[in-house]
Amino acid sequence: MMLNNRLVVLENPKSPVAEAYRIARTNIQFAAVDKELKTLLITSSGPAEGKSTTAANLGIAFAQSGKSVIIVDADLRKPTQHKVWEIDNIIGLTNILLGDTEIATALQPSPMKNLHIVTTGPIPPNPAELLGSQRMTALLTSFREHADIIIIDSPPIIAVTDAALLAPQADGVVLVVASGQAKIETAQKAKQMLLNGKAKILGTILNMVEEDSQDYYYYYYYGEGSGDKKKGKKRGHKAACL
């Protein structure tokens, strides 16, 4: 697996992709103006839609804006963050939940000094119970003291109940939708599940968009700030009045 190029915002900050993540970060901040956004849950309807990459790059984008960030890998069934960051996964979230480890010990450094990662730790047999526990709620509260923003990478919402359990506890939920991959019905079901759990959905991140798509061009020009407003006037309006 080619993992190194997944941290685009860090390694290639001037690329259009990095710019796209920064736009997403800004829009997320605007989407949550009425409430302080400290915990942000990233999920998707199905697997492999790019949750972990999105979580990591959004984390970098937030860190670049000067915020202190913790990325928590809450996908206890298929841990990914340690692979994305190429760090080990010996201690992490499960250790803190079981009371073996202090939060500070579980925070692993990243190439950015204001960004830390909490990997999953050993995979437990009962992820849903752990994530739905009172301890988890308490843990999320104490994480708030350690950083400005906590990004939670979670399993796909349709497959397992984990994300649905965590979502209501987050200040905002971002649904990652892989273009050409996420089924309309599945995504609608995911949205409904989140709403049923009283989660606050900030919006979606449309991922893996083909380069020749009109959406891509719009954001490209928007991001470059080239002043080519004609290209995406209609869509620009939509994005501006989120």
Partner: protein
């Protein structure tokens, strides 16, 4: 965006030129490969599988033979009559008796139906001419059959009509080039049909594809804002 607009968008699948272009671009491999495969298959069949068929024709003229003084008496009526005769004669040429006679003399192992299908007799429009065309896998036999049909036919006409007013103008010559299969035409047809089928498949796949692709789709089906659009990372 108001409710009316959302409703109308659900009722009608809006598709614009850019969408069509995107669909075509996405399906470009089907659009290229399918016609190519069809053309190749058609080419192989045309060149190696289908037996080439040859065509030979002979032209006959119906009408009295005028000579000397008679030629002056050539009347319009005669020509009209001849025109009528041509049609009648064509039918005689196609008759079972003629075809069977040809069959016997040539000793070809075939049925009357088969042979009569490969013999085509038609009057040349607005003339006193009849053209007998024979199609066969053997060019020489095509010419021989055409000529022989003409001879049998003339004999038959003389016998029935008691007049000797059919003459051969052109004898059939042995054709050098086959008329079938028309390789170029076959390949072109295969290409065109292949392209149309490919277009059908590409658009069908697109409409069967129930996935979210664009920001518009997200807003239409999920009614959620799009916070970011991340291009595919290769």
């Amino acid at each position: 965006m108001n409710d009316d607009k959302i409703e109308s968008r659900d009722d009608f699948e809006v598709i614009d030129l850019r969408d069509i272009w995107r669909i075509i671009k996405k399906g470009k491999w089907i659009l290229i490969s399918l016609p190519l495969i069809a053309m190749l298959t058609s080419g192989i069949i045309s060149f190696f599988v289908l037996t080439p068929r040859y065509e030979a024709s002979t032209t006959l003229m119906v009408g009295k033979t005028y000579s000397g003084q008679d030629a002056m008496m050539l009347q319009y009526n005669d020509i009209l009559t001849a025109n009528q005769l041509v049609k009648t004669y064509s039918q005689i040429a196609k008759s079972r008796t003629v075809v069977e006679k040809v069959m016997q003399s040539e000793k070809i192992n075939t049925t009357y139906e088969q042979l009569s299908q490969s013999i085509d007799v038609k009057p040349v429009k607005d003339t006193q001419l009849i053209q007998i065309t024979v199609e066969d896998i053997d060019p020489e036999r095509a010419a021989r059959l055409a000529n022989f049909t003409a001879v049998v036919f003339i004999r038959k006409v003389t016998e029935i009509m008691k007049v000797d007013n059919v003459n051969i103008i052109d004898h059939a010559v042995v054709p050098t080039l086959p008329v079938k299969p028309n390789k170029k035409l076959n390949i072109i047809i295969a290409g065109v049909v292949g392209l149309m089928v490919a277009l059908g498949i590409v658009f069908l796949l697109e409409f069967l594809d129930r996935t979210i692709k664009t920001g518009d789709d997200v807003e239409r089906y999920l009614e959620l804002p799009v916070l970011g659009v991340i291009p595919k990372i290769e």
